[in-house]
Symmetry: C2
């Protein structure tokens, strides 16, 4: 099995604090994400700044786009994003329009979605999905379980490259052992650690241990 990617999510309230956070870990992680909070605060400047700092990394704009996919995707691609997220509630035409203007679209799974929806995304040429534990749901006490693992496995079996996120820490990665996860996304578990670079490296070491090279 291939080692999953490690993605750092920058969900800062200011560009300055995002820049300070990414400086410590940008060279260790595989993918850098301009988080939704950050983009809503700072606009595409968040994306273009990360692109300038990390010309060789994969940069994701976590727009959670629900409509006007073509326009939003063009804007994010122009700012330097490789990939962009669409919310699962977006229509197929929105996802298709977005997919034409940027390298890849990732479908963010929140709330109600069905296997039939997922097949529709695949049929529309969308091959990445992001399985979440919502930050607010986590705050209200929900955590990772068998139900989540089964949904992730179903998506992998359908042919999606699946990213997993929401309250992940190094010790939770073993829950996913044997599952062909494409990317693990961590935010504050890395950026708010006492030593963020050490925390990012600990994620990478555990991914190597569990999934090999």
């Amino acid at each position: 099995m291939t080692k999953p990617n490690l993605q750092v999510a920058l969900d800062n309230n200011t560009l300055e604090s995002a820049l300070a956070d990414v400086k410590a870990v940008g060279d260790i992680v595989d993918i850098v994400e301009a988080g939704t909070i950050l983009i809503l605060q700072e606009g595409t400047k968040a994306v273009s700044s990360l692109r300038a700092l990390y010309p060789e990394k994969t940069i994701i704009a976590d727009t959670k786009c629900a409509d006007a996919g073509g326009t939003v995707a063009k804007n994010m691609a122009d700012a330097g994003a490789d990939w962009m997220t669409c919310i699962c509630a977006a229509t197929i035409p929105t996802m298709k329009a977005a997919n034409e203007k940027i390298d890849e679209i990732q479908v963010e799974l929140y709330g109600n979605w069905t296997k039939e929806d997922a097949q529709g995304w695949l049929d529309a040429g969308i091959t990445q999905a992001i399985y979440h534990q919502s930050r607010d749901a986590l705050l209200s006490g929900v955590s990772w379980g068998e139900k989540d693992l089964n949904k992730v496995k179903m998506l992998v079996d359908m042919g999606f490259r699946v990213s997993v996120t929401g309250g992940l820490s190094v010790d939770k990665l073993a829950l996913f052992e044997g599952v062909n996860v494409y990317t693990f996304i961590a935010g504050r578990a890395i950026t708010q650690a006492d030593d963020p670079a050490k925390a990012a490296q600990a994620f990478q070491d555990e991914l190597h241990r569990l999934w090999g090279e």
Copy 2:
């Protein structure tokens, strides 16, 4: 029946063009919306600029928030927004967290949602919903029909104040006659008209004609 509000959606790619567009119609409409495209491009500066220009108007941040509701709502409220949108796929904890940090939340209806979901939003204290025709769906040929009207009526009957948007023009307003719509949202039908002020006034005149004072 009360005359519905008229809301202009500013879905510009730059703050400058949004400012130029709103200058002509901001005093005619009832509600000014910083559109999703604009916020993703310019960040909260879009919201704070509209607040500065129109201190007495209702300002909406169309964030289509899917997660981290408390943080996004606080940021938008700090920038001067009265109301903010959440996507229907957001969890109830996200909507509740958002609702605590800003005057009101509006649920944006895209994709799969059920009457049971809608009751859950009401039970969580969310009393505004936005019924859409997706821009991309419209581009692919879908338009307003009986199915849409029935869903709008259902939401009104449940107790929601319902905003309606997506490809609306003055001549389409009569379709909704007799329905207690709270707000009609128009974007390019106003801002891209030959005479935007005249177009906005034509919307208002038709709303008065159909719904009275």
